[in-house]
Amino acid sequence: MMAKQINLTIDGMPITVDEGTTILQAAKKLNIHIPTLCYHDDLCVAGNCRVCVVEMKGSRTLPASCAMPVAEGMEIQTNTIKVRTARKHIIDLLLSEHNAKCTTCYKNGNCELQELAAEYKISEPMFIDLVPHKNYQMDAYSPSIIKDDSKCIRCQRCVRTCEELQHVSALGVAYKGDKMKISTFFENPMFEVVCTNCGQCVNRCPTGALVERNYVDEVWQAIFDEDKHVVVQTAPAVRVALGEALGMEPGEIVTGKMVTALKRLGFDSVLDTDFSADLTIMEEGFELLGRLKKALVDKDPNVRLPMATSCSPGWIKFIEHTYPEYLDNLSTCKSPQQMFGALAKTYYAQKRNLDPAKIVSVSIMPCTAKKFEADRPEMRSSGYKDVDYVLTTRELAIMIKQAGIDFASLPESHYDSVMGASTGAAVIFGATGGVMEAALRTAYEVVTGREVPFDGLNITPVRGMDGVREAAVKIEGTKPEWSFLEGAELKTVVAHGLTNAKKVMDAVRDGKANWHFIEIMACPGGCIGGGGQPIPTNEEIRKKRAEAIYREDEGMPIRKSHENPEVLAIYKEFLGEPNSHKSHELLHTHYKERQRY
């Protein structure tokens, strides 16, 4: 059905829009910029900050354009003296409540309040500084996220993110009036509550109230320490987003430039998480096939299906808190980051003849939860902390800027070896559905000896931005050792964003699911939309990053994990075979139940 058309004028210009459109959206169509703060493309409308107020003919009050739907014959003015005065007052009020030590703020130069203050030329504070009257406290205990209430403008973007996108609700509004603040259950520190460390709040916070805990200085320290051998691994989703933080357009593939930049920063070896992503596929693929055999042939009642991916540390913490009875459904595989870390101080150290005690292992991740993951006590199977420092995409951009590197003009170079080789299958780990697609490419071929029956290896049903996507692959013409799977249909489901994870897990819990394999990524869009990725984010940007991921895959000479030569080599030289004893020692783990409150 066609939506009803509404005619209105904005700043004297007539426009016709669908019923239900807001004034803000209508103005955007006319290329009129209305400033906003609490508004975010990904979130429900709040109308809290009131920065976007406009004048509406016949109305005593100035409505917030983000929250006001259009109506027939409406006459809107977006830039009158009344509007300007009101906006300036509002910005001034926010500044009066805000710790405006911008020069020493982590978000300096990337803060929406700061931009707005500049736009409205706030030179002199109009009102009394309220900061000394407040008992602001900083929560800096989480390894992933730092919360500084003195910088909070109470727009509630983080609250809406945590509740709507993630169904976690670790953040909520507490108290009222002048004491109103964004807080946690019983005001406990973030690391003691249900927070999954996903960082989606960080990605949407307009100021410096929520930021990642940054380890830039520690990494510089390690780089400049002559005694240390610093290896760096870069996650698949970083290479399609890093450019944004350095002035490039969303969706640019900057893999080669990034490698060059990392070498110039002084890392001793620049390696690729994609290598261990391929390894993950081998371990996880065989684990799945093993579980299917146990279930179908051995009729083992203890085998847990569906099996769920374990790459996303935000998802892991979510299931630990929310569905602990399904922990055994998780693949026992560590995430690619942690597999890499464990191998960096064992296999890599052996190959390069290095003392693992002197290796500093750094990872560049699109993710804030990876910082928490690296700190887990389970993640020391090399005998050392497997990954020493995790930097987000944003932090890497900071280092590149600090080093004075002109990123856009860098030549391209290749990853080092060993543990630098990768495939298209590993690259697509960066987008939602990617792990599933990579696993299917390998599992199908292992079982049948033939390529997965999709056009050009592109398993399109698992791609895209729908919250929950199902796909089934019929297995035909199996090799003799896999004949028990002949004619079976492998049913899979992919979910991204924890609200969708909940939908999938509820279906499993309620017995409404017949899937064998579940892929869940904590962040919208998967890692390309991770909490450590460049700000801003919205669906359009995430789609561009995902398209870049698939372009990168198409351009790779090898697109199946089991054909990665370095992966084949590590099994031959070091691990034996997938799910071997050694693999389990280094590459697999178990997780634990956590309290919901």
Binding site: V45, R60, L62, I90, Y175, K176, K179, M180
Partner: protein, 387 residues
């Protein structure tokens, strides 16, 4: 009453009312007839905003959604107001009756009373009265039920959309409007929300007829209204008075001979100084009020009065929107700074501009109405703000 101009009426507290008979006769009318009768009466909402009650019912009745609600706002929190408490204490059946008539007019099966947290002491009695009421409904074969939901003591929850949020178990924060409750209220369903007094008057209009109600009051302010009188008065209490009197007439009756100002409508209302007593009508043509009338004599510091109000708002703002949350703090600190001489007296003008911004940009009535007392006190008692 000593004053000829002040007519004390006794519509709602009248104990002789045959409750069942009024309900029966209302239920014999068609939905349109009920709404038309109410329209004819000219009744405006008694919460302060004064929206025509019949239109609220009509808009809700017109919604196609079969699930609708009638909600009684008994979250009386305005400083100096205690009339709803008295109504609920004395004539709860009439409140229930008003809800039942509304339910018939709009097609609702369920009604809710949102009772102020501080009025928990009324709960037991109200619930036992509800049992009687429900038994009567059963006898009359009226499929309608009322439940009571307790508030927790937040002033903002008297704001209708924050009240719905609270009823739904969420934090009491106002919603964006539109949509209005008539389209999307409790559980996002079409809802009539009236305060206690409005519902009582709705019921009484079906006892006395619209015409009799309309005879009382003025063209803009029909009928009578319940006032809670407090402050410097020898006669504090609850009075039902005909609308249309001037502040001067009111002060003649209730003042202590030394009244310098009357705060009409509580903290969110207007302060009327003595020089304006004569020309100010209490009602929609003058100063509207939810019922709170506070008298101040010359022993009172108007700075302290305003400071108290601002302290109240600073604490009772939900904190959601910027103009209200930060604006209230700035107004309070601002007048303190002027009083202490830390800011020049002309800073008051800056604060008045801020109050103006709050009035036009705050998300809900709370933030918008802070300006009322601020303007009227600062303008009329400026020297008290400075020296």
């Amino acid at each position: 009453m000593s004053n000829n101009f002040l007519r004390r009426v006794d519509l709602i507290f009248d104990k002789d009312c045959d409750f069942k008979q009024v309900l029966q006769s209302a239920y014999q009318k068609s939905n349109d007839e009920i709404i038309n009768e109410l329209l004819e009466s000219g009744l405006k909402g008694r919460g302060g905003a004064g929206f025509p009650t019949a239109l609220k019912w009509k808009f809700t009745a017109e919604q196609p959604d079969p699930e609708k609600y009638v909600v009684c706002n008994a979250d009386e929190g305005e400083p100096g107001t205690f009339k709803d408490r008295e109504i609920l204490f004395q004539v709860p059946m009439k409140v229930f009756g008003g809800m039942a008539i509304c339910a018939k007019a709009i097609g609702a099966k369920e009604g809710y009373i949102y009772l102020r947290g501080e009025y928990r002491f009324l709960l037991k009695e109200l619930e036992s009265q509800l049992e009687v009421f429900h038994a009567l409904l059963d006898e009359m074969k009226i499929p309608f039920r009322i439940k009571i939901i307790m508030g927790s003591g937040a002033y903002i929850c008297g704001e209708e959309s924050a009240l719905f949020e609270s009823m739904e178990g969420d934090r009491g924060e106002p919603r964006n409007k539109p949509p209005y409750p008539t389209v999307s209220g409790f559980r996002k369903k079409p809802t009539v929300i009236n305060n206690v007094e409005t519902l009582v008057y709705s019921f009484m209009i079906f006892r006395y007829g619209a015409r009799k109600f309309k005879e009382l009051g003025t063209a803009d302010s029909r009928g009578s209204k319940v006032f809670s009188v407090s402050g410097d008065t020898p006669k504090p209490g609850i009075y039902e008075l005909e609308l249309g009197m001037t502040v001067e007439q009111f002060v003649e009756e209730f003042g202590d001979g030394d009244t310098k100002a009357v705060q009409v409508g509580g903290a969110s209302g207007f302060c009327v100084p003595r020089k304006k007593f004569k020309d100010t009508i209490i009602g929609f043509e003058g100063v509207p009020t939810g019922g709170s009338m506070m008298l101040f004599n010359s022993s009172r510091s108007m700075f302290n009065v305003l400071h108290n109000y601002l302290e109240f708002f600073e604490e009772e703002s939900c904190g959601q929107c910027t103009p209200c949350r930060v604006g209230c703090q700035q107004l309070k600190l601002g007048i303190e700074a002027v009083k202490k001489g830390e800011k020049h007296a002309n800073y008051l003008e800056q604060l008045q501009k801020l109050a103006q911004t709050m009035k036009i940009t705050a998300k809900c009535g709370l933030g918008q109405s802070v300006a009322n007392s601020f303007f009227s006190i600062v303008e009329n008692f400026k020297e008290e703000m400075i020296y």
